[in-house]
C-alpha cells in the first residue's frame, strides 16, 4: 500500500517565547483520513504547535505545508480558509451570544449590506447540533449552558466548513461519557470523509480507542511517530517522559483513623439535597457523577463558599459552621477548585506568590512577608510535583495548562490540611504527573489526611478511592465500599437508573 500524500506537513518549526523555547525544530505530517494523536507532557509544546497550525502564532523558523504548498498564515481566518479548523483547549466562546453566533463566530452568514442572515445561521447551526445530538438549540445563549455543553459548541465549529484538517486540543477534558461517544462518532465521520484529525489528549484509553498514529513531543522537541496498533501505553509513556511508569496501585495497608469529616442531611438551595457521607482520616473518598450532579457545590459548601440551607457538617465529631473560605482554611480544610484559571490562579501573578497566597498572613517576618520562606515552599513543591517553569518569577499565565494545575495543587498541599478536597484534580494533566498526583493523594491519606476526590473520570475515581459516593441530580444515589464497585453498577448509580439509596 502506498502512502497517500499528507494534507499537512510541518517542517522544522521553531517557536520561542521570552525565556522559553516552546518548539524546537518540530516536524510532523498528517494524512487524509487519519486520526493523529499528539502526545507529550504538560508544557511539551502541543498547544503551541497547534496554535502555529491554526494561524494564531507565527513560527520563528520552519514551514507549514498544506497540500504540498508552503503557506504563511497570518491569522485564524487564513488557516480556516485553508481548511484547518482548531478546537481550543480552553473554552473560547462569547458567553453572552447565542450558540449559533458562537459556532459561526467570525464568519456569520450575510445577506447584503453586512446584515446577518439569521434564518440561514439558525438553520445551519441546528443541522450541526442535530448531528451532535445535544439537548439545546441554536438560539440558546451560551452562558446558560453547562461547561460540557459549551465544549460541544466548540466542537460544533469543526463542522461548519469543508475542513481538511481538524485539530482537537483536549476536547474531552470536561465531557461526560455520553458526549464523548458523540464526539468520537463525529471524529469517525470526519475520518470517513478523508479529513485529517489531530487529536491531543492525556487520556490513554481514548488515544488507543480512536487514533491511528501517535506523535510525541518532549520539551519542545519531536520524539517520533508510531502507529497506534504497534505500541501500548507503556511504550508511549516511555517516549513522553523517557522512563517507565508504575501504574499499579499499592494496596493501602494503613489503618483508617477516626471519622474526620461527616456530613448529615446537607442541602443547599437547588444545587444538592439531603446529602450525607463520612470521610475517615486516612481515607480517600471519590465522588463520581455527571456534570451538574452537584459535587462541586458540595465542595464549595464545605469550603464556606456557599450557604447551606439545612443539615450539618461535623469536623472531628464537632458540629462546625463554615462561613467563609478563611474559616475553612483555619479549620484545616483545603479545596483545589475545578476551574484553575477562574478560581485557582491569579494569572498575572508569579508562581511563588500564587502558591503561597492562602497562607500569606502566616509566613511573615515582623509585619512583612517572609520571601525567603516563600521561595523555600515554592522550591519544595516545584521539585516534588515536577513543575516546569523557568523560575518562581514567571507569571503563572505563561505556564502550560498542566503546570498551572500543579501550581494550584501545590498551593493547597502546602497548607498542610486535615481534610483535602480536590475537584477534577488531573484535568489536563499528563499521564506522568497524573500518576504522581494519584500517588501523592494516596500518600497523603496514608499520613492521616481525609481526602475527597471529585472526578468525572471513572478510571481515576476507581483507581484512587477507598470508597466512592455516586451522585445523580443533587442526591447521593449510592455509596460503594471498597471492592464492591464495578464499572456497570457505577454507571447505573450516576445515571439515575438505580433506586435512590
Amino acid at each position: 500500500m502506498n502512502t497517500p500524500t499528507p494534507v499537512l506537513r510541518l517542517e522544522n518549526i521553531v517557536k520561542t517565547f521570552p525565556g522559553v523555547r516552546a518548539l524546537d525544530g518540530v516536524s510532523l505530517s498528517v494524512l487524509p483520513g487519519e486520526v493523529h494523536a499528539l502526545m507529550g507532557e504538560n508544557g511539551a509544546g502541543k498547544s503551541t504547535l497547534m496554535k502555529v497550525l491554526g494561524g494564531i502564532h507565527q513560527p520563528d523558523e520552519g514551514q507549514v505545508i498544506v497540500n504540498e504548498r508552503p503557506v504563511v498564515m497570518n491569522g485564524p481566518l487564513e488557516a480556516k480558509a485553508l481548511g484547518i479548523v482548531f478546537i481550543h483547549q480552553e473554552l473560547s466562546l462569547a458567553e453572552e451570544l447565542s450558540v449559533a453566533e458562537n459556532v459561526y463566530l467570525g464568519e456569520l452568514p450575510t445577506k447584503g449590506f453586512g446584515r446577518v442572515d439569521w434564518h440561514e445561521l439558525y438553520q445551519k447551526t441546528d443541522a450541526i447540533l442535530a448531528k451532535l445530538k445535544v439537548g439545546f438549540d441554536a438560539k440558546t445563549l451560551v452562558k446558560d449552558l453547562s461547561i460540557a455543553n459549551q465544549q460541544m459548541v466548540e466542537i460544533a465549529r469543526a463542522l461548519t466548513v469543508e475542513a481538511k484538517v481538524v485539530i482537537f486540543d483536549e476536547p474531552t477534558a470536561s465531557l461526560t461519557d455520553a458526549e464523548k461517544r458523540v464526539l468520537f462518532d463525529v471524529i469517525s465521520d470526519l475520518q470517513a470523509n478523508d479529513v485529517g484529525v489531530v487529536y491531543i489528549s492525556h487520556r490513554m484509553e481514548e488515544i488507543f480507542k480512536i487514533t491511528d498514529r501517535i506523535s510525541v513531543l518532549r520539551d519542545g522537541q519531536y520524539q517520533g511517530s508510531v502507529a497506534t496498533k504497534d505500541t501500548d501505553e507503556e511504550g508511549v509513556t516511555q517516549m513522553m517522559i523517557g522512563r517507565k511508569l508504575d501504574l499499579t496501585r499499592k494496596e493501602s495497608n494503613h489503618e483508617l483513623g477516626k471519622i474526620a469529616l461527616e456530613v448529615r442531611n446537607l442541602s443547599s438551595g437547588k444545587a444538592f439535597n439531603d446529602v450525607s457521607f463520612q470521610v475517615r482520616s486516612g481515607e480517600v473518598v471519590g465522588f463520581y457523577g455527571l456534570v451538574g450532579a452537584g459535587r462541586t457545590e458540595i465542595a464549595e459548601t464545605l469550603f464556606g463558599l456557599r450557604n447551606k440551607s439545612s443539615g450539618e457538617i461535623l469536623l472531628n465529631g464537632e458540629v462546625i459552621d463554615v462561613k467563609s473560605p478563611r474559616d475553612a482554611i483555619e479549620k484545616g480544610i483545603s479545596l483545589v477548585p475545578e476551574d484553575r484559571k477562574g478560581q485557582g490562579l491569579v494569572l498575572g501573578m508569579n508562581c511563588r506568590d500564587n502558591m503561597t497566597l492562602p497562607q500569606v498572613d502566616d509566613i511573615t517576618a515582623g509585619p512583612f512577608v517572609a520571601e525567603g520562606a516563600e521561595i523555600a515552599i515554592f522550591d519544595q513543591y516545584r521539585d516534588s510535583l515536577d513543575i516546569r517553569t523557568p523560575g518562581w518569577k514567571q507569571d503563572v499565565g505563561n505556564l502550560s495548562g498542566g503546570n498551572q494545575q500543579k501550581i494550584v495543587i501545590a498551593k493547597w498541599l502546602s497548607m498542610k490540611p486535615n481534610v483535602l478536597i480536590v475537584d477534577e484534580p488531573t484535568r489536563g494533566i499528563d499521564v506522568g504527573s497524573k500518576s504522581e498526583i494519584h500517588k501523592l493523594l494516596r500518600k497523603l491519606a496514608s499520613k492521616g489526611l481525609a481526602v475527597i476526590v471529585i472526578s468525572s473520570e471513572m478510571p481515576e475515581v476507581m483507581h484512587v478511592s477507598d470508597r466512592i459516593v455516586a451522585m445523580y441530580s443533587g442526591r447521593v444515589t449510592r455509596t460503594f465500599e471498597c471492592g464492591e464497585v464495578t464499572e456497570d453498577n457505577l454507571v447505573q448509580a450516576i445515571s439515575g437508573v438505580s433506586k435512590l439509596a
Partner: protein, 333 residues
C-alpha cells in the same frame, strides 16, 4: 407568587420601572412643592423631556456601542465642542458667503466629518499602539480640549442662523427636531447592533476578546469603526444642539462623558463589555434627564440636587444588584 412576578418584571426592564417611579414621585411631590399650576406629566413637558434628552442621548448611543465593544471613550465632550466650532466657523466663513442658506449642509457635513475623524484618531491609536482605550481617550479628552482653545482663543464661537434655529425648534408630529434625531439614531444603532455582522462582532469582542481573535474577527478595524461612529454621533449631537443655540464656549461638553457613561450603565450595559441593550440605554438617558427636570420642578437647590443625584445613582445600582441576586445559597464570590 406575586412577589416573584414583580421580580421578573423588574429584571426584564429595571430602568423603565425606575422611570415610572420617577414620574409618579415627581407628579405627587410636584403637586405639593411645585409653584407651577401645570402638572409634571403634562404632555408638553414630556415632549420637552425627550427633546432635552437629545444632546446626551445621541452620544450615549455611541457610548453604548463603544462599551459593548469593551472600550470606553472619555473624549466625547471635547469632540462635541470641536464639532460645534467647526459647524459655526464654517457657517460664518467668508468662503461660503455667496451660498446663502446652502452653507448649512456644508457646515453640517464639515462638522460630522471632523467628529468622525477625531474618533478615527482615537480608534487608530488604540488599535495600533495597543494602549487601553481608557488611557487613549483620557489623553485626548485633554488634547482635543486644547485644540478647541487653539481654534478660538478663549472666546465663544458664535453664529446665529435663524433659518437653522427655526428648523431646530420646529415640531413635526408633535416631536421636536432634536427628538426625531434621537429616535432615528436610536433605531439605527439598534439595527446596527442587533442585525448586522459588525454589531454582533462588537458584542463578541467585548464579551471575550481572545475568543474573537481566535475566531479570526479583526478586532482592530471593528474598534476603529466604533470610535468613528461615536465621533460621528458626538458631532451629530453638536450639530443638532448648536443649530439651535448658535454659540459654543470652549468649555462646552465638559463632564458630558461622565453623565453619558452613567446613563449607559444605568441602562444596564456592563462596564466590562459584551452585554448591553440600546433601548435600555435610551431609558438610562431619559431617567437622568427626568431626575434633573423633576428636581428643578420641585424646587430643590443646588446642593440638594448634587446630593440626590449622587445618592440615586448609587441606589439604582444597589437595587439592580438586589434584583439580580439569585438566593442566599449563591456562590459567594
Amino acid at each position: 407568587m406575586k412577589s416573584i412576578n414583580v421580580k421578573v418584571l423588574l429584571k426584564a426592564s429595571p430602568i423603565w420601572i425606575f422611570i415610572l417611579f420617577e414620574l409618579v414621585f415627581f407628579s405627587v411631590a410636584g403637586s405639593y412643592l411645585s409653584l407651577s399650576d401645570k402638572a409634571f406629566m403634562d404632555v408638553d413637558n414630556m415632549l420637552l423631556l425627550l427633546k432635552q434628552s437629545a444632546p446626551i442621548g445621541i452620544i450615549a448611543m455611541g457610548m453604548a456601542i463603544i462599551m459593548i465593544n469593551g472600550n470606553i471613550d472619555l473624549s466625547v465632550g471635547a469632540t462635541f465642542a470641536i464639532a460645534a466650532i467647526v459647524l459655526l466657523e464654517t457657517m460664518s466663513s467668508p468662503m461660503f458667503e455667496g451660498l446663502g442658506d446652502w452653507v448649512i449642509p456644508i457646515a453640517w457635513g464639515a462638522a460630522l466629518l471632523v467628529g468622525t475623524l477625531l474618533g478615527a484618531i482615537n480608534g487608530l491609536i488604540a488599535w495600533k499602539t495597543g494602549v487601553d482605550a481608557f488611557i487613549v481617550t483620557l489623553g485626548s479628552m485633554l488634547g482635543f480640549r486644547g485644540l478647541v482653545f487653539m481654534f478660538n482663543g478663549e472666546n465663544p464661537t458664535s453664529h446665529l442662523n435663524w433659518t437653522l434655529v427655526d428648523f431646530a425648534e420646529a415640531q413635526f408630529l408633535g416631536l421636536h427636531t432634536a427628538t426625531w434625531f434621537l429616535l432615528v439614531v436610536t433605531a439605527a444603532i439598534w439595527y446596527l447592533m442587533n442585525r448586522t455582522v459588525h454589531g454582533r462582532n462588537a458584542y463578541a469582542i467585548g464579551n471575550n476578546r481572545e475568543a474573537a481573535v481566535n475566531a479570526g474577527i479583526r478586532v482592530g478595524p471593528h474598534m476603529m469603526i466604533n470610535f468613528m461612529l461615536i465621533g460621528f454621533l458626538a458631532a451629530l449631537s453638536a450639530v443638532v444642539f448648536y443649530s439651535e443655540s448658535g454659540s459654543v464656549n470652549p468649555n462646552d461638553g465638559q463632564l458630558y462623558e461622565l453623565w453619558i457613561i452613567t446613563a449607559v450603565v444605568l441602562g444596564g450595559t456592563k462596564l466590562t463589555g459584551g452585554s448591553g441593550s440600546i433601548l435600555s440605554t435610551l431609558g438610562g438617558v431619559i431617567a437622568i434627564q427626568l431626575l434633573r427636570k423633576g428636581l428643578g420642578h420641585i424646587g430643590a437647590d443646588t446642593s440638594t440636587v448634587n446630593l440626590v443625584i449622587g445618592s440615586i445613582l448609587i441606589l439604582v445600582l444597589f437595587l439592580d444588584r438586589q434584583i439580580n441576586i439569585k438566593g442566599r445559597e449563591e456562590l459567594k464570590v
